[in-house]
Amino acid sequence: MYQRKAIHPLSQLMSPLTPATIDTLWDIFVAVGEQWSLTDEVTSYRLRFETFLENRIAISPVYRGYYVDGAVFVTDLVAELGRLPAYNRLFKQKPRVAPSGIPATRLEAAQRYLANEFIVLRLALGGFKSFGSINYRGYFGGANIEGEPTPYRERGK
């Protein structure tokens, strides 16, 4: 049955992200792999990453703001501290208890809506494989087909 793609009415009025913003967000996404020594081929995810950004905005228009400001924030942070220290702060300087409600700082917003979400996406696209499994929540492992290897680690194999 034909169902319209879910898109917030305010999102429909928004202009797309600029290439510069997308490039910065992409760098954060790439940095996830550097931070945790992931071995997957990140460049192959670029197109799907861009689709992801569009969809997040389509579901919730506030994400456009998170992305635009988050990109500026991270660019400034990198300029101030250098790339590695900046990403260390973004990914590692986390409170003990995950915050909720309105973010208290721009760092917190960048952590919750950029870093944390990019981590989930990166792992689901294939980053998880660096930790020993062959399927993962959010990864299209494939169908259960007779005569072909099971799309997850099988008992006894």
């Binding site: 879910a6 996830v32 969809n55 986390k94 981590i119 993962y136 990864y139 259960n144």
Partner: protein, 549 residues
Amino acid sequence: MKVGTVIIGSGVAATAVAQTLLKADSQASVLILEAGVRVKTKDYGLWEHYLLTRQAPYEQYTDLPYTTRDIKGENKIAGAADVTLNGARVFAYGGSTLHWGGWSFRLKPEDFYLKTNTGNGIDWPFDYDDLERFYCDAESHLAISGDSADPLLPRSRAYPFRKFPFTAMDGVIADAMEQANILYSHMPIARRGVPVHSSPAAPAQPGASTEPSRHAPCQTTGTCKYCPFGARYAACNYLDDLTEWNEWPGLSVRLGAVVDRIIIDRKRKVKGVTFWDRETGDLHDVEADRIIVAAGAIESAKLLLRSISTDWPSGLGNGYDLVGRYLVTHPYFIFETKFPANPKRLQAEMDFPTLVSRHFDSRAEQERGKFLLVAPPDAISFNLAEALQKGHSRQKVEELLVGDANRVRLHGMIEVFGQAGNRVKNILNDYNRIGLPMTQVEYTRDDRAFEERMAEVQSKVVPIFAAMGANLTEKPTISWRADHAASVCRMSKKETEGVVDADLRVHGIDNLYVISNAVFPNIGAVNPTLTLTALALRLGEHLSSGGGA
């Protein structure tokens, strides 16, 4: 407006009945009335949102929690305070199959004879053998992947799709069960598979699916509760098939139609329903030759209770004060303890369980309460995304993965027996967000007896943990959420003992039927949906072959 059949509800029961009626008579006049609205399924953006937040777009269509001192909620509970409705069911097009896990077990032969075997409750008015071929049809309808060679139950046809092999993580529990001499098997799961090729030289087993489908097979994506492929059966996706091309001219589906009451003609006959339209607030009457209530256990009972007349002052079919009574659900338990080191790096690779034990779902356990054990897909608790989001270093993440910081879990559910005093009622004039009258749940239990039983269960489960090198000492967490609410319009031979007969026709009324978990006299140790689907297909066949009104 006048139609042949009104079906109240749009979940799997409604869909299976409607499909059967229409296949037998393409001109059949069928009106499906659903109180809820449509939830967008298979939307990629909503799927990504679910992946990130575990929030699904149907969650707003469940009951709110009970009111607490400070926060207004919905419904009322009297008695045991933890038979919760919040999250138990979904009021939307497609019903609770929007959120179900797809565990699709057949009841066992002894489940049909609870009274004979244990003195509890009443027997079903038919048994496993009578229902067996409908179980086969139901497994096809729901697109079940299962082990056709499982010796537990006799079956006349194969599952449509092959079983999912055990995962590496299952291996830990399977090995432990073997050591503890506990039998285990493959979870029969509603995940569409891939058809097999059949040729004269190598014919497929009868029942096995050989034809490709428009519906996609499971791609082991691991986001089952909002499957981007629609591989986990959700009734809305199949009702859509029926309505897509208007090829059944007599079929219509109306959403946002809240049925207030069934209109009674005379003692043995109902003649329609009154519903109000959510959009406009207007009340409408529909006349029908026959009414099928498929509104889920609790709402089906409540609808009968609030449909009154001089002949039925306590509600339709309620001449013996049984409607709404004998409420049961499955207490769902989780045993958990520390897991010793994880050198094999076992992590959750799937989102549905593949290993189950029906060892204690047996005649021997029936008197005390038979129970199911399930190895959850995340039996070992390590969560990779969380570990990274917490800001741990790679090294620390590795330690968390392979070290002894993880927990190991075993899930299960257990049968409890109905009591007359455990019931659901309407709270008239107080409406929930969907527009239906709120629910009053009255439930008490013998806490001591239940604790004793759970201690017995624990003693049987401890050896499994021990065989894994884990020491289970803590009591389980137990949820009494009403997902499997049942028996509130139970089936019986004698009208003094139940609400519907063996054909699901309400005792004392010629043209009113109930198809819901409500009709189960008891639910055994297993999820009810497969049996519900079998009963629905059976009802459809019965009505199509001239049985009943």
